[in-house]
């Protein structure tokens, strides 16, 4: 029994989606930070700036959540695969070990 190499690639991609999620959360933080700096704007537009940033922080966080969902979905697919008959006989295959490691979300 050998591991389907596509799942090794899936594992790598799940990590990249994790990174995209981190970067997007940072981007959301940047937009949110503008909301905290509205004093730089004239009083007449501060409300508009604040409203825009509140809405966009949410939009970007949702996009980050979408990236995270993809990473989680890929890990779920790997987990399902490892539980199939095809992969179960490859417990000591290095690729299988790698895939099991990928089930854990870490940097």
């Amino acid at each position: 029994m050998t591991i389907d190499v596509a799942y090794v690639e899936v594992a790598g991609r799940s990590r990249e989606w994790d990174q995209q999620a981190v970067d997007l959360r940072a981007a959301g933080g940047q937009v949110g930070g503008v909301s905290g700096a509205t004093a730089a704007f004239t009083p007449a537009v501060r409300g508009a700036v604040s409203g825009f940033c509140t809405a966009w922080t949410r939009h970007v966080e949702e996009l980050a959540a979408g990236a995270e969902e993809r990473a989680d979905g890929m890990r779920g697919a790997i987990r399902d695969y490892l539980e199939t008959d095809e992969a179960s006989g490859s417990v000591f295959d290095p690729a299988a070990l790698l895939l099991r490691g990928a089930l854990e979300e870490r940097r």
Binding site: E9, R13, Q30, A37, A40, W56, R70, D80, R107
Partner: protein, 653 residues
Amino acid sequence: MTTIALPPLPRTVPTLDADPDGVAAQAVELLAASAQIDDVGSFTAGEARVDGWQGGAGASYHAGLPAYGRQADAMSLALRHVGRRTDEHADVLRDLEVRRVAAEAERVELVAKIRDLSERVNALLVRTRGVELTPEAADAAEAAAVALAEEAGRLTRWVQVFDLGLDTWTRDLLAEEAAYAAELARVLDLEQVDRLYGGVEDPADAALASMPPPGSDPEEVAEWWAGLSTAEQQAVLAASPGSVGNLDGVPPSARDEANRVRLTRDLAALRELDDDQLTDTERDMLRNAEAAESALADERTDPVTGEPVPASLLIYDPTAFGGDGAAAVAYGDLETADHTGVIVPGITNTGANIDGFHDDAWALYETTRGSVGADESVATVAWIGYDAPSDDAADMAQVRDQDAAARGAERLASTIDGLRATYTGAGETHLTTIGHSYGSTTVGIAAEDHHIDTDELVFLGSPGDGGDDHDAGDYENTDRENVWAGKDSRDPVAVLGEGGASLPFQLGPFGLGPPGLGLVPNVDPLDVLPNPTNPLGPLQQGPIDQLVDKINPVDDWWEDNDPRDDLPSPYPDSEGQLGTDPTSEAFGAQRFGAERSEGSSNPLDHHTSYFDEGSESLDNLGLITGGRGDDVERVPHSDTGWLGDGFDPELTR
């Protein structure tokens, strides 16, 4: 008698409750966030695919990618638009503030004139009211009244125009506020975003596709950039700042904008993580990014105009050179400055050192401003654009040869070509390239092998000129009269080049010992140095121990404090490995005064003080950079002392 209608006082000038620079800073945050989202869109369209992933899960995953990518791309374009509009908003606010300040000054002048008129009218009244005037006096009073009435009329019309100006100012502010708020409102929710930007091609894509290949001549890059529309340029800066921020041939102002977007994005992304989550690579990146951030944060004021001099980020790559990082910070406008100075540092400098090294560029800027006319402009650059041997032992081993300098020379040549290609001022800028320490070896190779187009070439505290041809008169683009060399006679690094004064007599312990230890008398070198009538012994090329043995009180100190011990261990331990001493007669450069005013207990201070405020070295560098070579203090070459070529005559000055 003529009636005089005094003009009304002009209206008070309204305040502008805003911080345009603060608004511009928020624009950079929004652009950086849009760049991040753009990256996600690109990832989704490309690397995110796993083509071999079959089955339901794979099919479901791939089916969801286009919609997600479309949303990311649309959001990126929308946020980029808002970021750009916010930057424009900052410009409009700046302009309004300039107009407002001018109006305040005008109002002060107008009020003063009205008060003066009022006083003169009152004086006329006092002189004439209830007084029996002679016919001549009455005629004179009438004539004065007519003149005052005419003046009052002129001032009244001025007040009317002034007040109309205030109305216009207020209308402009309100219109801008309304327009800006409307721009925010049109992309408030994602339906609006998709309607306006969903599926819209990013103008950056075509522009980037037409970019000259890596390694292209900066002239070619400059032509490419100039051929893009403003919209395309702005799109590239926001979508792919890393592509153009360090690209020689792109104008420095655009590079600064791109690099600030990249820096802002990096800082946000890296600070999103806790320290224990950072990889080693990310930790290096964060260190380099924070150094650049800190360097840019310093506020500088032009010593002549009193105006702020913003720093710009000419190079920013926190991942370059295996994590050492590359950075260059500039002061002044590199695209128009009459005089430009580029400083190249030596070993141990990495991107993390830009916060600190940028002070040298500022010191050069300030001093050069003082050496040129008030109408001449200056720009300076602190350039860490090459992989200088740094603290890592393996890396430092490169100091023994010229390879790292040679690689750096190629990069330096490209940077200078880029500055030349993007210059838009009258004629050409007067350009000075200054290499300090190992950086001077880099500069020498750049001049010899790459023929850098520099008007002045300066070797400072140099361990050697680098390359194969060791004659200041042989550079293709710089005349001997414009090749300069400066060194402190006690600089332990600057004696490593071949042909100059040798180390022992340069570094005699005289006066260098730490005061108070009792081992080293704090004496003037001239008091103990040999002289022709009472020599201490053979002086030419003697080993250091020979000299030390003759000065017993300092023997122990010297053995424990050989300045070469303070140098990184792999530093050349014999002369000439990095070339000729540029202050030697054989090299034939113009040697200028660069003595540190006071001795130091740490010999390396004599190597690191060339940019100290008020030093003769910095004064001369300012004159050279400002094109005032005739005023530079020239001193004898280091191997022309009266005791032979082992003795630097500057030690006796």
